[in-house]
């Protein structure tokens, strides 16, 4: 208590370990995906065509760019450029929000077509297609939850940067939030081709 303990490398290592657990969490859904794809290749291709490739592509660009901005924010804070750091964090959070807005319109469109887990219309489409959309909703939903969490985390840390609690000398908190945000990007890098681009 009296002796201050600080270990930045340890904190980063702990964050990486936490990211491993997130990867395994998503991998459960990807195992289900792989098995179902092996079982229903044609149905998966057919279902994939029903997804809107423009929404998917735009969201990919949005997330990749947000990953860039948060990476730049780290360099900025290392160089003690506080204002650029805040702007870059703000852009990242904004892009995350844009991603969710896109997602909202995409999902509303699909739901208005009667495609959502447990719907009768989906059940009528036949076995493989139902599986595809269930997995799509669960995986993208879990991913969306992570976008919200990651965005909130970065917003909170940005406030701490503005208050001078996170500085060029002590920025592990920002770095770990950035790591989390990159994980969100990584999941999407796999999610996008597997769900939107199956032929």
């Amino acid at each position: 208590m009296s002796i201050e303990h600080r270990d930045d490398t340890g904190a980063r290592f702990g964050m990486w370990l936490f990211l491993y657990t997130e990867v395994i969490l998503f991998s459960g859904l990807f195992i289900l995906y792989a098995v179902s794809l092996a079982k229903y290749p044609h149905q998966f291709a057919e279902a994939s065509h029903k997804l809107n490739i423009y929404f998917g592509s735009i969201n990919t660009l949005v997330l990749l760019t947000s990953s860039l901005t948060i990476a730049l924010a780290i360099t900025a804070i290392q160089r003690n450029q506080i204002k650029p750091t805040l702007i870059l964090c703000g852009v990242t959070v904004g892009l995350g929000a844009l991603f969710m807005v896109n997602k909202y319109f995409e999902w509303s469109m699909e739901i208005s077509h009667g495609i959502y887990p447990g719907s009768e219309h989906l059940a009528e489409m036949g076995n493989g297609i139902t599986t595809f959309f269930n997995l799509y909703y669960f995986t993208a939903g879990l991913h969306g939850l992570h976008v919200v969490l990651g965005g909130s985390l970065i917003a909170v840390v940005a406030v701490l940067v503005a208050k001078g609690k996170v500085t060029a000398e002590r920025y592990t908190l920002l770095e770990n939030s950035a790591l989390y945000w990159h994980l969100v990007d990584l999941v999407w890098i796999f999610l996008f081709p597997l769900y939107y681009l199956i032929l």
């Binding site: 490398t9 340890g10 990486w16 098995v35 660009l61 990007d185 996008f192 081709p193």
Partner: protein
């Protein structure tokens, strides 16, 4: 307990990586419109792996971290391969 201080990565490096990621995204979309049969999925996964390596090693600074971090990632990938691979001993031969 050695402390590992990172040198700031130049803005330019990150922007180059970002351009590469965007280019790879275009490639993966274009390639997915051409029929290669079962190879399509492997090409898509291959490109995604290249993209994620870029993100992991450069955006996430893994290149600058000590060996421990890299071994950790390797362990994760091995375990993932085991989980997926051994599940398929059932699925493929049922």
């Amino acid at each position: 307990m050695e402390e590992h201080k990172h040198e700031p990565v130049p803005y330019r490096t990150f922007i180059k990586v970002w351009i590469a990621l965007l280019a790879l995204t275009v490639v993966t979309v274009v390639v997915s419109r051409i029929h290669f049969g079962a190879a399509n999925i492997w090409i898509a996964l291959g490109i995604a792996s290249v993209k994620s390596s870029l993100v992991i090693f450069i955006f996430m600074h893994l290149r600058q971290e000590s060996r421990l971090f890299k071994i950790g990632l390797l362990i994760l990938l091995v375990i993932l391969a085991i989980f997926i691979g051994l599940t398929f001993t059932d699925i493929l031969y049922r």
